[in-house]
């Protein structure tokens, strides 16, 4: 009996592990494709600092043996006590570069692509302009509406406030899953914010906008809105919506319990014996 039960549990386990192992075979992408998919949101090649450093000439500055583990898991390298990695982490506002599930050969393909692109003068341009310089009042208002979600994103993705809060008068209780974006532009240049919005490098955000990316004008309006918050020197302030939900939840549950009590007011409250027994005692 025991053997039969163990077998019933183990057999599906083996089947599922098999499915999982065969399913994860991946085709090799080109260096450019990987760069655009993963690196581009935070790094440029020859256009200056974005969220992270400019990668032009990276293979001359660092050895390949240093780059590969750093790309795969930057935090592991930083925590191992590497002084260069730690200094760079400090320099770039302690923004964590997410781990990338890339093989050695895939990182090498990307490095070769960066070397080729850095040598191409057409790819190198001057300083990138920021949206706030050209944004109108209407753009800023639209940015706030898109952030809150009162204007839906055209692709149908979730609004920023699903996960992020920003301390602005138009934003009522943004989410608490991800970082507060009030002062994001002080942590990274506006083109960095734009790049992240256009091509999110953080896994949770990437998934949320996987097949419903933001349009160019939405990225523009949102970045301008966040830049404006930074320009006005608005400081982060915790939203009270967590407590509000908790209070509402408590009030609601008490209301529900009261409702249950009312609906089932005439329920049988005790065992059938009791009434009969009492009647017996009272008539004695």
């Amino acid at each position: 009996m025991l053997r039969g039960r163990t077998c019933r549990i183990i057999a599906p386990l083996i089947v599922s592990i098999g499915i999982f192992m065969f399913g994860s075979a991946l085709a090799q992408e080109s260096g450019e494709a990987i760069f655009n998919r993963i690196c581009k949101a935070c790094h440029t090649v020859g256009q200056g600092k974005l969220v992270g450093p400019d990668l032009a000439g990276v293979s001359q500055r660092r050895s390949v043996e240093w780059i590969i583990p750093f790309v795969q898991s930057s935090q592991t390298v930083i925590k191992s006590g590497d002084p260069d990695a730690a200094a760079m982490f400090e320099q770039f506002n302690k923004l964590i570069m997410p781990d990338n599930p890339l093989s050695r050969s895939e990182v090498m393909t990307v490095i070769r692509y960066i070397e080729a692109a850095a040598g191409d003068p057409a790819a190198v341009s001057e300083v990138l302009p920021t949206p706030l310089e050209t944004a109108t009042e209407a753009d800023l208002a639209r940015g706030a509406a898109l952030f809150q979600g009162t204007e839906r994103l055209q692709g149908g993705g979730p609004s920023c406030s699903s996960c992020h809060h920003a301390n602005a008068k138009d934003i009522q209780g943004g989410g608490a899953l991800a970082v507060d974006l009030t002062a994001v532009v002080s942590r990274m240049p506006a083109p960095g914010v734009q790049a992240i919005l256009a091509n999110p490098p953080f896994p949770v955000m990437e998934q949320a906008y996987a097949d419903r990316p933001l349009t160019e004008d939405e990225v523009f309006a949102l970045t301008a809105f966040l830049e404006k918050l930074n320009a006005d020197q608005v400081v982060e302030a915790e939203s009270h919506h967590g407590q509000l939900v908790l209070a509402g939840g408590f009030a609601g549950s008490i209301l529900l319990l009261a409702l249950f009590a009312m609906i089932w007011m005439r329920r049988k409250q005790a065992m059938v014996y009791r009434d009969i027994h009492r009647r017996q005692l009272s008539s004695r």
């Binding site: 979600g149 949320a208 908790l246 509402g248 319990l257 059938v272 017996q280």
Partner: protein, 240 residues
Amino acid sequence: MLNNFLFVALPYAALSVFLVGTIFKYRSLKFQYSSLSSQFLEGNRLFWGVIPFHWGILVVFLGHLTAFLVPRGILAWNSRPLRLLILEMTGLAFALCVLVGLVLLLYRRLTNERLKVVTNRMDQVIEWLLLVQVVLGCWIAVGYRWGSSWFASDLSPYLWSIFRLDPQTTAVSAMPLVVKLHIIAAFLIVLVFPFTRLVHFLVAPFHYTWRPYQRVIWHWDRRTVRRPESSWNQHPPRNN
């Protein structure tokens, strides 16, 4: 590797065991389970456990199911801040009802002498699992808002990817620990499901909703029962 085990292997193992286990149980051992109802004996004590727990978990479960089936609908509803707030508060209110009911039921299960006799190990396992799951859920609702929106945009695609046999785990792997634990506990519940009394969920007595009231009448001699001088020695049939 750990993430792959927890978010790929565990879900498939859980779903396979769930499917095979429930079909096997239903075909061969369907009369093995009983709720061993004691409602006639302790209607008042049971009431505050059973009613809030069942109505709460029904609504909370349907909420998760809706976000899984129609994520776009949830996002559209949440596009107004007030509607989002109402949805989240309602969800938490029902979740707290589940918590109140479950704590009372668990307390009763652990202290009631009569119940101890009929409690098996899996009853305990499933109740503790559910308690952990509900506490984690309430924690997420308050600490990691707005769960309804990011469930629709991140966890719904993950769950669909499992059913499409193309599991995408990068997003769930990057979720906060509490959310990960909530997902893992959910699959553990699915895993042990066929071996617990929770199987009654699959044969929910929906016909009860429109079934007419039943009158329960003891088959005993009323005259003897009501005679004041006689001591109490009559018993109803012991069949429930």
